[in-house]
Chain length 425, copies 2
């Protein structure tokens, strides 16, 4: 039953992999000598690391349910296929910024890929205060290339519609985002949690704040019905593996055609959380100052470099059906189209600010938290860092239009760093 | 070869239909006595009327090319299948406002349906100056029901994504719209024509007008990437059949998930053309005054009644994933959601105004013209009516934000009725 789904255990996996020349060639030696370790620490899947005498690979297998929760929360295996499709798309457009895929078996919901070593999950590095000099250039190349080339600016409408249809079946993963990011943190939901008792009042305020509810609902509608480009869909710092010399984006199983600002906002929102969590990881006053300066500079450059690269592509690679060049011929036409490009980027920036805020709030008031905050041992200190993040995020969400440029975001983040919440107890 | 595509000639069609009990039962008598007449006057398809002793039917067959142009412009037969899917959707949501479908054969690209008799194409009635008392109520029910129930306000996200995918293959028909409505009228294109010489300078000005090019390009982007609802896609007054007591919407072969304002704007744009063409059909001064008053009242009520019905549905039938009710609980929540509904309708109104303008301009400067203008025999008079329509449409397109309510549109239309272009010759 090689192609019938079952949850792979070690002997089965070993036998399966030994029949794949592209895998056994990479591992070397005899299959009996391969070491197999299950290392999945994510919320959804099994992840195996297999090492042989000449190399290693990673194997990711989807489970028919959410690993974090168990069989009571079923989740389609097809997500593995969408992850594979997205990896292929990304590898074509951003080669060397995603892991190489060695093998995919749709029935087994399995992808075998290059083992990233000695890369670590970027979020862990950020918690440790590590600076990644390649990150800005790499992530903005990834974003600009994958988003631009799947947008109406680059794709003929027919091909884009086919792309949208090809990912339409990934709706169960979209539904997770719709619920956990755009809905649950703003209402009573059993799965919500927060650092209690310090954030009790803030959590209650978010559940009552109608300005916030309108803003998050507008973003949810955009997430539901704006297939601007093939987005990664889960581009937080836990989906990025790094060394100081390399960056790889992993885990695109939430991929679908959605709003571009959701990906860019994910990166920026997670960096802002890293910045505001940093005080909680400080062992001596000021020891993380250089790191924090780098994080805020990175926030700014993620936008400015993304924007620069995206616009450069638009100027030279606009083969899509939107903004037909024949309507903007000549010097005046070119000038006017450039003005319109800036207006387009301003709208995209506003989306980015809003989605960055949404991604922040869900990590503090919703189901899935992140180690930026969770690893701050002093609970009151953790709550302080989280409260500052919520303070910033609420303003970005509700007063998005007042953030005219990325400098306004980092300025507000610096102010939030010094903001003191009024903890009742 | 019953299910192999071929262009049906009379004997073949007769034999094919005689084997369908639902058709022969409706027609009555013996097949040899049925009369078959090909009556298609549209741009794309064959249309047969078949009459028997007890009743009649209409049969529409798609050709593998654009009928108006010939085999040099191929067009997929699959459009017949999308038309069928859309008819089923519309019949479910707006029963009695679309023709009953009796039979569909996907391979033959054929739909057999109820014969609408004594209905005429609404545009012909409008040219004749006929008032249709049922029209406002019927078309706004059609629009509100079909758009609301296929939107994110009514549909769970998964079902909506499946709907989007089901219509994604209709991209060749979308491409016609993208080219003929959103692109060609604004550039040199062989197929463009206009009432020359009077409109030569105006047509040239539209080809150079960068404000117009930016506005039409933004609408095109919206058409490309805003799957708000399953739209008819071609809802002009030539796609509506009427008597004074009945309204039926036909020909949804351009259907796909797109911006709602495109359908509403199509109705309003075509009514505005009817209004401004009316002077060209006048035989005695003022004889069409009551008709013209009714047309402008209809423009206003198409929006206000659509809006009222759509909002009523939103208040009672909002089972979709957008704007979750739990985020707007209680009296204050309800009040705030109502404010947000008005904001949503204001955005939809702006889209409607823009698309109405786009639909007007393409009928005067592009490939496909309409009898509202074409049947004005005096060419200079025709050009005068067309110039007034272009004058109105350009302002609606470029200064959309200044049309805060539908009254502003009809006021501008009345002013355009008296506007005198400066024809150089």
């Amino acid at each position: 039953m090689p192609d019938q789904y079952r949850i792979l255990k070690e002997p089965d996996l070993r036998a399966y992999l030994s029949a794949l020349p592209e895998v056994s060639g990479k591992l070397g030696g005899v299959p009996a000598d391969w070491t197999i370790t299950e290392v999945g620490d994510g919320n959804l899947n099994l992840v195996f690391i297999i090492k042989g005498s000449t190399g290693g690979i990673a194997v990711k297998q989807a489970l028919p349910y959410v690993r974090l929760v168990g069989e009571s929360w079923p989740l389609p295996l097809s997500r593995s296929h969408y992850e594979y499709l997205a990896l292929v798309h990304q590898a074509r457009l951003a080669p060397s910024l995603v892991p190489d895929v060695l093998h995919h078996n749709e029935a087994l919901a399995l992808v075998a890929m290059e083992l990233l070593e000695p890369h670590i999950i970027m979020r862990r590095g950020l918690v440790a205060g590590t600076i990644y000099p390649r990150f800005i250039d790499d992530i903005t190349t990834f974003l600009a290339q994958t988003l631009f080339f799947s947008s109406d600016l680059a794709m003929p409408a027919a091909a884009k519609k086919e792309g949208i249809a090809a990912f339409a079946g990934n709706h169960a993963l979209c539904k997770i985002t719709e619920d956990l990011i755009f809905t649950d943190p703003y209402r009573v939901a059993e799965q919500n949690r927060w650092t209690s008792p310090w954030l009790d009042a803030t959590a209650a305020a978010f559940r009552e704040d109608l300005d916030v509810h309108v803003a998050i609902s507008r973003l949810k509608l955009k997430f539901l019905a704006s297939p601007e480009a093939l987005i990664h869909g889960d581009l937080h710092t836990g989906s990025i593996m790094v060394t100081e010399r390399e960056t790889r984006v992993i885990d695109p199983e939430f991929a679908f055609y959605g709003p571009m600002g959701f990906d860019i906002g994910a990166v920026i929102g997670n960096l802002l959380m890293s910045y505001l969590a940093s005080a909680g990881h400080e062992r001596a006053p000021g020891e993380r100052h250089a790191f924090e300066t780098w994080v805020l500079e990175t926030v700014e450059k993620v936008w400015t470099e993304f924007s620069r690269k995206f616009l450069k592509l638009w100027r030279s690679e606009a083969k899509g059906d939107a903004y037909p060049p024949t309507l903007f011929a000549g010097g005046k036409g070119a000038e006017r189209l450039e003005t319109e490009r800036q207006a387009y980027m301003a709208r995209l920036f506003a989306d980015t600010v809003g989605f960055a805020a949404a991604k922040t709030i869900r990590r503090i008031l919703g189901l899935a938290h992140n180690i930026d905050f969770e690893w701050i041992e002093d609970e009151k200190m953790r709550a302080l860092c989280e409260a500052r993040s919520l303070h910033l995020a609420r303003d970005m969400l509700v007063n998005t239009a007042s953030y005219a440029a990325i400098g306004a975001v980092t300025r507000a983040a610096r102010e939030a760093r010094d903001w003191q919440p009024n903890f009742a107890r």
